[in-house]
Symmetry: C2
Subunit: 426 residues, 2 copies
C-alpha cells in the first residue's frame, strides 16, 4: 500500500469537522483497511471560513471549480445539507466522474431518483449511509446484509431532538415548552425547531428507509406527518400506566393497499425493542422473513456521524482499486402504491374531557360503535373541578378513516367538551 486517494470536502461544519479529525486521528487503521491513504485535497467553504481552515493547515477554497476540475480528486464528500446548492453540486461532481458520499437526507429523500440516475449514467458510486440514523449502519445493512428478506416493516426512532424531548417529558413530567427550551439550551434542538418537532426530519429519513426496504421509491411528499407538539405530560403518564412509552415513530409498512409510510407519535409497548431507546440515540427496527426482527442502534446525529461518512469513503476507495465502481446502484425495482393514510390501520388512544353525569360512558361507546370502531377499554380517570371527567379510550385496530369519523361524531356530542389527543398505539 503506497497509493493515495484524494478527496474533496464540501462543507466543514459539525460533521465535516469531525470527518477531518477522524481522517487525521485514525489515519493508520483507515489506510490499512482502505488499502490506500486517504487525503483531503481541498475543502469548499464560504469565503469567511477560508482563513480559519488555512490557519489550521488545511486546504480550502470558496470556488467549487477548484474541486471539480482537479483530476486528482476522486471522491467528493457533500456535507453542506439542504437541497440548494447541494443537489447541483452532487450532480456536477458526478458529471466530472467523481464518486460521491453525502450525509444529506434532504437531497436523497427529495431527489434520490435523479441522483441515482446520474450515478448510473456516469458509472460512479453514490453512498449516503450518514443520511439516515447518523452513525448507525443501516443503509448498507439493508442494501447488502438483509437482501434475502422480504421486509414487511421498518420502524425508526430517527430524530434525536424529539426523542430527547419525549424522554425528558417522561422522566421529569415536564411539559413540551419546558423540554423544548432545555433541548435548545443543550444544542439538541435548533432555534427554529420545526423540522424536528413537526416530524419533517424523520419523514425524510423514513422515505429513504422505506424506498430501500420495499425496493420502491418513496418520496418525502408521500409521507403522512404528525409531530409531537400536542403531546402533554398527561398523555405520557397515561401511556406509562397502560404499559407504553410515547415515541415519535417513523413507520414504513408493507400492506395490501401499498406502502403505509408515516411519522407520528405513538404509544409503543414497553416490550418493544425500540421502547428502551432514549435520549438523543436513534434506532431502526426491521421485521421480515426469514429474519423475523432486527434492530440497529446508535448515535443519530453530530460528530459520530463521521463514522458513516468516512466508512463510505473507505468503501469507495476499496472499490476504486478493483475497478469495481458503480456497484451501489438504485434498488427501487418496483413501483408500489402509497397506502392512503385514511386506510392505514392502528389501535388508538383517545383522551377526552366529558361531562360527569350518568350515561356519558354509554353515549361515548355508542358513538364509537356507530362508526365501526370497536373498543378495547374505556376508562374514566379523574374528576375535574367543575363536574367534568377525563375519559381514556383504547380502541382495537381500526382504519384511520373510522377514527376521523369517530372524532367528528364525538365533537357533535353535547357531553363531550374537548378531545385532547388521538394517538396511535403500536
Amino acid at each position: 500500500m503506497n497509493n493515495v486517494t484524494k478527496i474533496g470536502l464540501l462543507g466543514a461544519g459539525t460533521i465535516g469537522g469531525s470527518v477531518i479529525e477522524v481522517l487525521q486521528n485514525n489515519r493508520d487503521i483507515i489506510a490499512q483497511r482502505a488499502n490506500t491513504a486517504l487525503e483531503i485535497k481541498n475543502i469548499l467553504v464560504l469565503p469567511r471560513e477560508l482563513d480559519g481552515l488555512r490557519q489550521r493547515g488545511l486546504p480550502a477554497t470558496d470556488n467549487y471549480n477548484d474541486i471539480l476540475n482537479d483530476p486528482e480528486i476522486k471522491i467528493v464528500v457533500e456535507l453542506m445539507g439542504g437541497v440548494k446548492p447541494a443537489k447541483e453540486f452532487i450532480l456536477d461532481a458526478m458529471a466530472h466522474g467523481k464518486h460521491v458520499v453525502t450525509a444529506n437526507k434532504d437531497v436523497v429523500a427529495q431527489f434520490g431518483h435523479d441522483l441515482f440516475d446520474a450515478a448510473e449514467a456516469h458509472q460512479i458510486d453514490f453512498l449516503f449511509e450518514a443520511a439516515v440514523g447518523g452513525a448507525i449502519p443501516i443503509i448498507m445493512p439493508l442494501k447488502r446484509s438483509l437482501t434475502a428478506n422480504k421486509i414487511t416493516e421498518v420502524l425508526g426512532i430517527v430524530n434525536g431532538t424529539t426523542n430527547y424531548m419525549l424522554t425528558k417529558m417522561a422522566e421529569d413530567g415536564a411539559d413540551y415548552d419546558t423540554v423544548l427550551k432545555e433541548a435548545q439550551a443543550h444544542g439538541y434542538a435548533e432555534r427554529n425547531p420545526e423540522a424536528d418537532v413537526e416530524g419533517k426530519d424523520a419523514a425524510r429519513k423514513i422515505a429513504i428507509l422505506a424506498s430501500i426496504a420495499f425496493n420502491s421509491r418513496v418520496k418525502f411528499e408521500d409521507v403522512s406527518v404528525e409531530g409531537i407538539t400536542k403531546i402533554t405530560p398527561e398523555d405520557i403518564q397515561y401511556a406509562d400506566n397502560l404499559g407504553y412509552v410515547v415515541k415519535l415513530l417513523a413507520v414504513g409498512r408493507d400492506t395490501d393497499l401499498g406502502v403505509d409510510v408515516r411519522v407520528n407519535p405513538v404509544f409503543l409497548s414497553k416490550d418493544h425493542p425500540l421502547a428502551s431507546v432514549s435520549g438523543v440515540l436513534n434506532a431502526i427496527f426491521v421485521r421480515g422473513y426469514p429474519i423475523e426482527e432486527a434492530m440497529f442502534f446508535g448515535p443519530g446525529a453530530g460528530k459520530p456521524t463521521a463514522s458513516a461518512v468516512v466508512s463510505d469513503i473507505i468503501e469507495i476507495a476499496r472499490g476504486l482499486q478493483r475497478g469495481a465502481a458503480g456497484r451501489f446502484g438504485c434498488t427501487c425495482y418496483h413501483h408500489r402504491q402509497i397506502c392512503p393514510v385514511e386506510e392505514t390501520v392502528s389501535s388508538y388512544y383517545i383522551r377526552l374531557l366529558v361531562e360527569d353525569k350518568p350515561g356519558v360512558l354509554g353515549k361515548i361507546a355508542t358513538t364509537f360503535g356507530n362508526v365501526d370502531v370497536s373498543l378495547k377499554s374505556v376508562v374514566q380517570t379523574k374528576a375535574n373541578l367543575d363536574a367534568h371527567v377525563e375519559i381514556v379510550v383504547i380502541t382495537h385496530a381500526v382504519k384511520h378513516k373510522n377514527i376521523l369519523e369517530a372524532e367528528a361524531a364525538l365533537k357533535c356530542l353535547s357531553v363531550v367538551d374537548e378531545i385532547f389527543n388521538v394517538i396511535r398505539v403500536e
Copy 2:
C-alpha cells in the same frame, strides 16, 4: 436478468432447510436484488437423508465429488457445523474455484487463518455472516460499515440458550437445573448443553468478532471462558436489587496489555443497551471512535439464520457478475498480544457466608485491603439459621489477579465459611 447462479448446499438441517425455503419463498425479490436467479443444483446429505429430499423434488447426493466436480456450481454453502469434515470440505471447494458461504463458527474460530489464506490463494470469496449472531448483520457491518472507527470494545450476548436460561431465572426465580430442563424441553438447549452453558459457543463467536474488530487474529484458545453453571437465583436477586441484570457476556476489549477477550457471567448495569436483550435473542454492542456506541440486535440462531446465509450468497452472486470476486479478504493486519486474564480489570461482586459475630465485616474489609482491592460497598444481607450471615461485596475496578489473591486470603479466614460466587461487574 436472465442468468442463473447455481449453488451446492452441504447439509440440510435447521438452517439448511430454512435456506431451501427462503430461496423458494423469496425467489422473485432475491432474483431482482441479486440480478440473477439462484438455484440449488445439489445438496450433500447423509445416505439416509437422500430419499427424503428427493421425495420433496430436491436434488441430493451423498458424494461430495458430485458438487466439487460440477462446473456449473459456483457457490458452495457449508451448513454442516463442526470442524470435521467441514474444514476439509471448505478447502476442497476453494481449491475447485468455488466461492464459499458458511454458518460454521467452529471452523472459522479455529481455522479462520487457513481458510482466508486459501480463499486468497484461489481468489474466491469466503463469507460467514451467519457464524456470529445468527441472523444479525454484524460481520459485514464490522468489515464494511464501521471501517472508519478505532474500535475499543465489542461486547456480545451471543448465546441464546444461556440468555434464555438467565432470563427465565430472573423472571421466575427458578434455579439453574430447572431452567436448563425447560430450555431442553423447548429445544433451546441440547441434551448435552456443555458448549452453551460453559461458554464455549460464545467464546468461538467472540474470537471471531474480536479478530475483525481489532484486525488481529484471536483464536478460540485465546479466550478465557467461564460459564453460567454456578449462577444461583440469589445472585440474580442481588443483581436486581443493586441495579444490574446477570448476563453471559462475551467481551473483546482493546487494552494497553493486549486484547482482553473472554466470556463470563457479569452483573450488567440495567442502563446498558445490552441489558434489555432477553430470551433467545442476541445482540452485539460496539464502542469506538468516532461512533461512540452502536448495537446490533436480532435472532441469534435457528431458521432466521437463513437471512444471513442467503444474503451472503446474494452478495457473492452480485460480485460474480462484476468479476469482483475475492473482495472479502482477511482483515487481520496486526498481531496483537492477548491480555493475560490475570491482568484484566473489572469491578467484582463477591457473595460469601461468614460467621455472624462482631468484627467480621472489619476482618473481611481488611483482607481485601491487604491485597490492594478497594471496596465500593460491603453489605450484610440476611442472617442464616445457625449464626451465619451472607455478605455481598462490590469492589472498585481491580485486576483479576488481585481478586484471585483476595479469594485465597478469604478462604484462610476462619470466620469465612464459604465463597458462593465471584462475578464481574460491567
